[in-house]
């Protein structure tokens, strides 16, 4: 590894103002939003074009310099942390919405555009891009594609993998290629694009993408319901789906979440005997809403729901949603000196009652507080583990709890990561999941990594270890 020659060559292909080498600024790339160990990169490069990305990666491949692509750096698993003197490729300067094409129903966008910025632009055209991770304010198109992001609307619209038509990808050898198609149907050989989506920057650097877009819902009605038993709330989700409803969102908040929010937002109150709350959004034509609501209220009552409220008024909808929106800030402010690790598991919706109970048992076993909310329409739970970063025993419990939650999800037929990814924190759990599903897949994954990236220069050590 001849870093001096690499540095000189990089400055030949990108201008000096796009290369960062001062220590303080490099340190700003040493972390993400997870508890993973930090590491300072040797250099940060801020390319503006696919060509610049390609030239830099060619050099990295030639000089065997590890490269970590990143943008919003909001990851929750250590994926963009530059271990072993890696160079960070910061894609935030590639931030243009290139084309909104309503006739062909796509948006062509560079990867440094944040999801909320993208949706603000699309809303002007009456459309939206459905995947909506909670971090959409800060999360970018590139990070979302690389991490297979989902969000609240996942139950109805799936995750980013369902919304990408094609993408320009720079391979770890530096060759730019266009994967996928611009058309909805696409059978051009093996589906390499699907391999790259969710590969966390280990198989290629996405520089721009053609994303599917969808018309904004004609009308939305929001319902709020409480349950005296978390298991009833979880059961209600299965009943809603079994009756043929596909709500836009079904958000679950446990009692711990409601307590935290009420301690932070004075206007928020909840019935003292309730153990869980669901927020449900139904979308569709305005004339069908009354029928939908009547039917939904019946289902919820049948499942043990009470104090059911519904509204189509925007301010009222915001008021109901406040409980969910304020949940994360409430945790950060109420548990001072502590940190919050948002876990991310999925189970089949029919197994939610067992999962919710299991989370309670794991919390008691380790004596750490876990506050759970989740996008339960698709069985995705976010148990938020509260730990003390300055107490080694608390940190070690955090990792034990995280591991047990993952193992529980596997046992219930679910998965260890729904929408956050594997990064460095969940590599062991990934192996555990593959042991159940067929460990031969780990061999395939390693082989795929070697075929894409023979010199192991692109985000090495993330998702899987190849040695």
């Amino acid at each position: 590894m001849d870093f001096e020659s690499f540095r000189a060559e990089v400055k030949r292909v990108v201008s000096g103002d796009k290369v960062i080498e001062s220590r303080g600024e490099l340190m700003l790339y040493s972390y993400d939003a997870s508890p993973a160990e930090s590491a300072i990169p040797r250099m940060v490069i801020q390319p503006e074009t696919t060509n610049e990305v390609s030239e830099v990666i060619k050099l990295a491949n030639e000089y065997l310099i590890p490269i970590v692509p990143s943008s919003g750096r909001t990851s929750l698993h250590g994926g963009p942390i530059p271990y072993n003197g890696a160079v960070v490729l910061d894609l935030m300067r590639m931030n243009k919405v290139l084309e909104v094409n309503l006739e062909d129903s796509y948006v062509h966008v560079e990867v440094g555009v944040r999801l909320d910025e993208l949706n603000a632009e699309l809303a002007r055209h009456g459309h939206f891009f459905p995947p909506d991770p909670a971090s959409s304010t800060a999360a970018t198109v590139g990070g979302s594609l690389a991490n297979g992001a989902g969000g609240m609307r996942g139950a109805k619209y799936g995750t980013v993998k369902d919304w990408v038509l094609g993408a320009e990808v720079v391979l770890p050898t530096g060759e730019p290629v266009f994967m996928g198609c611009r058309t909805l149907k696409c059978r051009a050989g093996y589906d390499l694009l699907s391999l790259v989506i969710g590969s966390e920057g280990t198989l290629g650097v996405i520089t721009n993408a053609y994303l599917k877009i969808w018309p904004l819902p004609e009308a939305i009605v929001r319902l709020r319901v409480y349950f005296r038993d978390v298991v009833d709330a979880a059961r209600a989700v299965g009943m809603i789906k079994a009756r043929g409803f596909r709500p836009l969102i079904v958000e679950f908040l446990d009692r711990g979440t409601m307590e935290a929010v009420s301690g932070y937002v004075k206007e928020f109150t909840y019935p003292r005997d309730s153990e869980a709350m669901l927020i449900i959004d139904l979308d569709g034509p305005p004339e069908a809403m009354k029928r939908y609501i009547d039917s939904m209220v019946n289902i919820l009552k049948g499942a043990g729901g009470y104090e059911i409220e519904w509204t189509g008024d925007k301010d009222e909808m915001d008021r109901i949603y406040m409980a969910r929106r304020a949940a994360y800030p409430a945790l950060l402010r109420l548990f001072s000196g502590m940190r919050v690790m948002p876990e991310d598991i999925s189970v089949p919706p029919s197994r939610l009652p067992e999962a919710v109970k299991g989370i309670g048992s794991i919390a008691s076993k380790y004596g750490l507080k876990i506050v759970t909310w989740g996008h339960v329409g698709d069985g995705n739970l976010h148990p938020n583990i509260i730990y003390n970063p300055n107490d080694q025993s608390s940190v070690s419990k955090l990792y034990s709890v995280s591991r047990e939650l993952g193992l529980m999800a596997i046992n219930l037929g679910g998965t260890v990561s729904s929408e956050h990814g594997i990064g460095v924190l969940k590599k062991d759990l990934l192996t555990s999941e593959l042991e159940v599903k067929g460990i031969a897949q780990l061999r395939l994954m390693k082989a795929i990594k070697r075929v894409f990236d023979p010199n192991n220069i692109l985000n090495p050590g993330k998702v899987i270890d190849i040695d």
């Binding site: 303080g24 972390y31 993400d32 939003a33 800060a138 950060l332 402010r333 001072s336 919050v340």
Partner: protein, 101 residues
């Protein structure tokens, strides 16, 4: 000596509460203009923390702190409720006072 003063500032605003979610950067006008993280709230907060730990900050990074417009957009979106703009303002005052000595 400036490190000690910066340490007090880090404590006063409990800057280490930063959960590094980066919501603040998305509303910051100076970050939007330069796309350099030293010109964004999350970057500035962590530069202040690094200063308090005795890590040297170079002139570009000082500029990053000084370029804050004090518009306070970051304060509005911070889930941890950190008074980011005020902390940066105090840090700027410390740096300038120190430079004038």
């Amino acid at each position: 000596m400036i490190n000690d003063q910066v340490k007090l500032l880090v404590e006063k605003y409990s800057l280490t509460r930063c959960a590094r979610c980066n919501f603040c950067e998305s509303v910051c006008p100076t970050y939007a203009a330069t796309r350099r993280r030293i010109h964004g709230p999350r970057g500035r907060i962590w530069l202040i923390i690094y200063l308090s730990q005795g890590i040297d900050v170079n002139s570009d990074e000082y500029d990053g702190l000084l370029s804050c417009l004090n518009c306070r957009a970051c304060n509005q979106v911070c889930p941890a409720g950190i008074e980011i703009a005020e902390a940066i303002h105090d840090a700027k005052a410390l740096l300038v006072r120190n430079a004038l000595k």
